[in-house]
């Protein structure tokens, strides 16, 4: 165990500061501040700067290894050994300087690592760097109306016609499809083969004729996810990752990255810090909420669970760096951290007391209604990337050695 901010880390912080000082000037900071990560939209990747100035800055930061540290240099990543302390220092300093940071969303966090692992050299060269810089925005076309948890039963099909695939069918719950340039999708190409062996992993240009995107409004009131219809949409023959029929395997590596993304405790941390700050200013009967014995007790209980999630993240990074199997510790974060988001946001709602009824954007609310959005977003996090019961099956079966559930 070595967690001390030794000289090496102090020097590193200085180095990051000097870099920011030089490359993200006061004028930059003033011109267009980075999005406020306290907001759910910010936390989910919305509103992030991708203009020329931001891109120029990101390129330099990547060059120095401050961003996309898991992606090799030759594909446009920062390529650094995992080091949670350094990652924390970078995140802190970039936030303080209001500098552009990694683009969030499914492209950089899921597709890019998948291409590095399973793509052709040409695909890596073509897609990874622009994805990391936010120049290609991706959506994930997995779920269908009839195929959610039982994803392998998906029916959207592609048939080879000359040097094109012809796609027909429908995807649903596709986040950000309304603004995406590209979709990575699972599509059935071998209808005669067993379910899992008949699926192929596609990269699809969303401007392809025959693709129709129809927004779905979420319970939060926003419309971030969509239905996507394919009506004889023709995409080039080389639009696939891995071989025909290997899409399921390729997608396993994407899902691994997605669960790591959702399993991250950072949204819970931001919300938690926000609620502690709020509990110190909201007064009931002339006393700040945080003085209320029950509220204090609940905040401290949630904090312990949050710390457990964060330190488990440190542990996973260390295990990853040593190429060691994480076992249960690697299987539980998605369920644990989404449970945590529920606990934290519920507590925030209780602290808000009657102001918790304010809708997002209501200026008179202490939190501008942000916590009620976060409270609702719990379901988005819990369901996206695999519903809680599916996580429980995985943990029970792979983690605890229990018998497998029904499978077709």
């Amino acid at each position: 165990m070595n967690l001390s901010y030794s000289q090496e880390y102090q020097d590193f912080r200085e180095e990051v500061r000097a870099f920011l000082e030089e490359n993200w000037t006061d004028a930059d900071r003033a011109s267009a501040p980075e999005v406020d990560l306290q907001t759910v939209r910010g936390a989910m990747g919305g509103g992030i700067r991708k203009d020329a100035r931001a891109t120029e800055f990101r390129k330099k930061a990547i060059e120095r290894g401050y961003m996309y540290r898991g992606i090799p240099k030759k594909y446009g990543g920062g390529e650094q050994p995992p080091d949670p302390l350094k990652a924390t220092i970078i995140a802190e300093e970039f936030r303080r300087a209001k500098a552009p940071f990694e683009i969030m969303g499914q492209g950089p966090s899921m597709l890019a690592p998948t291409l590095v692992e399973k793509g052709t050299e040409e695909q890596r060269q073509k897609y990874v760097e622009p994805t990391l810089l936010g120049h290609i925005l991706w959506c994930q076309g997995y779920s269908e109306p009839g195929a959610g948890s039982d994803l392998a039963s998906l029916r959207t099909s592609a048939v080879l016609d000359g040097d094109h695939w012809v796609i027909n069918g429908q995807k649903i719950w596709t986040s950000n499809a309304q603004e995406a340039d590209m979709m990575f999708a699972l599509i059935r190409t071998e209808p005669d083969k067993p379910q899992h062996e008949g699926i192929t992993y596609f990269l699809i240009d969303m401007k392809t004729p025959g693709i129709d995107v129809r927004p779905l409004r979420q319970m939060t009131g926003e419309a971030d996810f969509n239905e996507v219809f394919f009506d004889n949409a023709r995409v080039p023959v080389d639009s696939i990752v891995g071989n025909r029929g290997e899409g399921w395997q390729v997608s396993r590596s994407t899902l691994k990255h997605e669960r790591a993304l959702i399993g991250n405790a950072s949204l819970a941390r931001r919300t938690f810090d926000g609620l502690v700050a709020m509990a110190q200013v909201i007064e009931v009967r002339g006393e700040p909420m945080i003085k209320d014995p029950v509220i204090r007790d609940r905040i401290a209980a949630v904090e312990a669970d949050l710390l457990a999630a964060e330190y488990n993240g440190y542990r996973l990074l260390t295990l990853g760096a040593k190429n060691q199997d994480a076992g249960l510790a690697g299987m539980v974060p998605k369920l644990h951290s989404t449970n945590l988001v529920y606990k934290v946001t519920k507590l925030a709602m209780d602290i808000l007391s009657d102001r918790g009824l304010c809708a997002p954007g209501e200026p008179s609310a202490p939190d501008m209604g942000g916590f009620s959005t976060a409270y609702m977003w719990y379901w988005g996090m819990a369901l996206g990337g695999g519903a809680p019961n599916i996580q429980r099956n995985i943990i029970g079966e792979r983690g605890l050695g229990l018998p497998r559930d029904v499978r077709k």
Binding site: R296, D297, A301, L307, A329, L402, D405
Partner: protein, 362 residues
């Protein structure tokens, strides 16, 4: 940056695991727990030969000079095995003495503690759940100690009592030796028979002052919190694994009960809540020696969190075993009783979280 155990720590943990598995299976746990004083000198000696009693004692006094994290690994293994004996009290007492000022007392006692030749214990808490050094009422006048300590671990078998009390200068630590006059030890009937407690009355007992101020008292208490948290993780993890094993052997409706989703998902929930807490435990134990400004608050948070988890884990474990889980014959109640001890001792979860709130300046 390295968040994990070293090779040496893994070896240490493994050694103790194998020792306890061989030397202290639950049959022996039961025999010790049903004995008069709940202490088995042979087991204590066996652990002494492995160097377990001197783990955090400096080399100059015959110890291994390791850290609280190493000690916590032992506590975790003892929790896993439900090992009986005076480990918790002796560890707190040792930590107290290490943090004391009196060098002569250290030179006199630490070597004996390191070899296991003498067993110490820590007498601090008073009344109902009062563990705050500034609120203690046991008092020393001249070198005579008077007061009542209702929950002292294994006072009956201890050679040395390290007592938190006050004199005209405020709180401090005093040593009282076995057999001293004015010391009355009455055993308490506790739910956890593997960790005995005694009520100790001091009535003008001869006492030697070894530390002034509350720092050494707090240190001992915080070490105790971490060790209880570690015991909780070990015990809860054992209950989880036992239940998962049972779920693939016990059959009902023609199939093993682990194939029912209700059972599987209860187990998955237990694992989901429990597994990340190991990292909280490691961090906290590490902080005790390396991150001073976080240690006390983390110790309070971790103890509360893990004691609550132990409670819920053992509860589902017994439920999922059915009727057999409710019998004296079956071992699960050993862990249930330890969970009861852990949640209460040094103050319950609400008390710890209240302390954490105060330490966080909320």
């Amino acid at each position: 940056m390295d968040f994990g155990l070293t090779e040496d720590q893994i070896l240490l943990k493994d050694t103790v695991h194998r020792f306890l598995e061989a030397e202290c299976p639950t049959t022996r746990v039961r025999a010790i727990m049903e004995s008069d004083d709940g202490h088995d000198q042979q087991l204590w000696q066996g652990l002494a030969e492995l160097g377990m009693h001197g783990l955090i004692i400096p080399a100059e006094h015959g110890g291994a000079e390791l850290e609280v994290l190493d000690l916590a690994l032992i506590a975790e293994e003892r929790g896993w095995a439900a090992t009986p004996g005076p480990f918790l009290g002796s560890s707190m007492a040792t930590a107290a003495l290490l943090a004391a000022d009196d060098q002569d007392a250290k030179s006199e006692w630490l070597p004996k503690l390191a070899t296991g030749a003498a067993i110490p214990t820590f007498a601090c808490g008073e009344k109902v759940g009062e563990w705050d050094a500034d609120r203690l009422e046991a008092t020393v006048e001249g070198d005579r100690l008077s007061g009542e300590k209702p929950l002292v671990p294994f006072a009956g078998v201890s050679d040395l009592l390290v007592v938190a009390a006050r004199d005209s200068d405020g709180p401090g630590l005093w040593l009282v030796e076995r057999g001293a006059s004015g010391v009355e030890v009455t055993s308490i009937r506790g739910n956890d028979m593997t960790r005995r407690l005694d009520s100790v009355r001091f009535d003008g007992a001869p006492a030697r002052k070894v530390a002034a101020g509350r720092a050494a008292i707090d240190r001992a208490r915080d070490v105790g919190l971490v060790l209880i948290a570690a015991d909780c993780y070990g015990g809860a993890n054992r209950c989880l694994r036992m239940t998962a094993d049972y779920a693939v052997t016990r059959e009902q409706f023609g199939q093993v009960i682990g194939s029912f989703q209700g059972v599987k998902h209860q187990l998955a929930n237990m694992a989901t809540d429990l597994e990340p807490s190991l990292s909280l435990l490691w961090y906290t134990a590490h902080a005790m020696d390396h991150i001073q400004d976080k240690a006390a608050r983390h110790a309070a948070l971790a103890k509360a969190h893990l004691a609550d988890l132990y409670d819920s884990t053992v509860r589902y474990a017994i439920e999922l075993h059915g009727g057999i889980g409710f019998t004296w014959e079956f071992d699960l109640h050993l862990w249930f009783r330890r969970a009861l001890f852990n949640r209460s001792y040094l103050g319950g979860s609400t008390y710890q979280r209240r302390r954490a709130a105060e330490l966080g300046d909320w």
